[in-house]
Symmetry: C2
Subunit: 214 residues, 2 copies
Amino acid sequence: MHEIRTGFGDILKRQLELAERNYEFLADRGVRAINVMGAIGSGKTALIIQMAQRLQGKGVRVGAIAGDVAGDDDYRRFQAAGLPSTVINTGDDCHLDAHRVGHALEEFPLSAVDVLFIENVGNLVCPADFPLGTDQDLVVISVTEGEDMVRKHPKMFAQTDVIAINKVDLAEIVGVDPQRIVEDYRKVNPHGRAVLTDAKSGRGVEELLSALGF
Amino acid sequence: MHEIRTGFGDILKRQLELAERNYEFLADRGVRAINVMGAIGSGKTALIIQMAQRLQGKGVRVGAIAGDVAGDDDYRRFQAAGLPSTVINTGDDCHLDAHRVGHALEEFPLSAVDVLFIENVGNLVCPADFPLGTDQDLVVISVTEGEDMVRKHPKMFAQTDVIAINKVDLAEIVGVDPQRIVEDYRKVNPHGRAVLTDAKSGRGVEELLSALGF
């Protein structure tokens, strides 16, 4: 599942090298990393905590990195959940990059984790172009964002093989049919897996872990 | 209210010149433009249509530009609402910029409108750094995105004097207190106006128009 994407051609060459270095750094330490992307408020943090708790129940040790432009809200949620964790504040940047993640990995207690969730900055555009050196990608969207998420961001969905359609408990209230999103996703990524989740209740979390190969 | 922001220093110099040109272009034609920013799915399109309908009722002619990475969903919604409109697809870019908007303005039937809403690409990070040459900015956030929106994007909120906190009808269901968002906003922008809205029912739309000076 190791695959380094290209986006801006030569401009990204240095980032690709750094991503490759992160990948090797994690592999040498036996850590499997997952780049969790999605719009702001889609439920990435809540879903990571749900997955972490279930994995911990199976004896898998889980850590998390919170990526945000500013603030430590998500980091504090990871801490409250008892996860080894850190925060990367990007300042003006709309995405994590391999350079920032590399520095965070150097400081992270990797010997204490088997799986590391790296929560990217909340938007569906920029993170698509910056590989971090993770083993897998996961995109989280919320039904509250509307039915047109995939149509508005085909690139992100075409290159991501597992997506969570979150907050499905609100689908009826907001008048969104999750199956429409699944159909759009299938068009751009016929082999991808779309899982309906509700991070608050835990619905779909086991299925999502299964889709990720756990 | 005309104010050109700086972000990346010299790198943005060309964009600032183009924004200035857009501002003059619009002013010469008597068109007041509003840059509507906010995360994907926050309800920008619905809120613009609500404002447009109320303004039209007062004899104000309204047009709209839909900015998206890909797709024409929002454009078709503007068309269905009977608004003179066009779409700008940015491809890989996470924001509109003055250059793209300038070309769109050249083609737009500006003689048919008094007010032009320019709906930016849906995210709360990148649009903050790219002035378009509009008279005003508006940021739309949704309570479904969580309580920490302002803390995660202080820059966007510090420089925007009117914000809409949308989907307040869902506040209780998602367990978010809009007043917490208002308090965070006051900290970074003491003179800003935060209006609670529900674009679906029209709640708060009149107050939002008043906050924008209509």
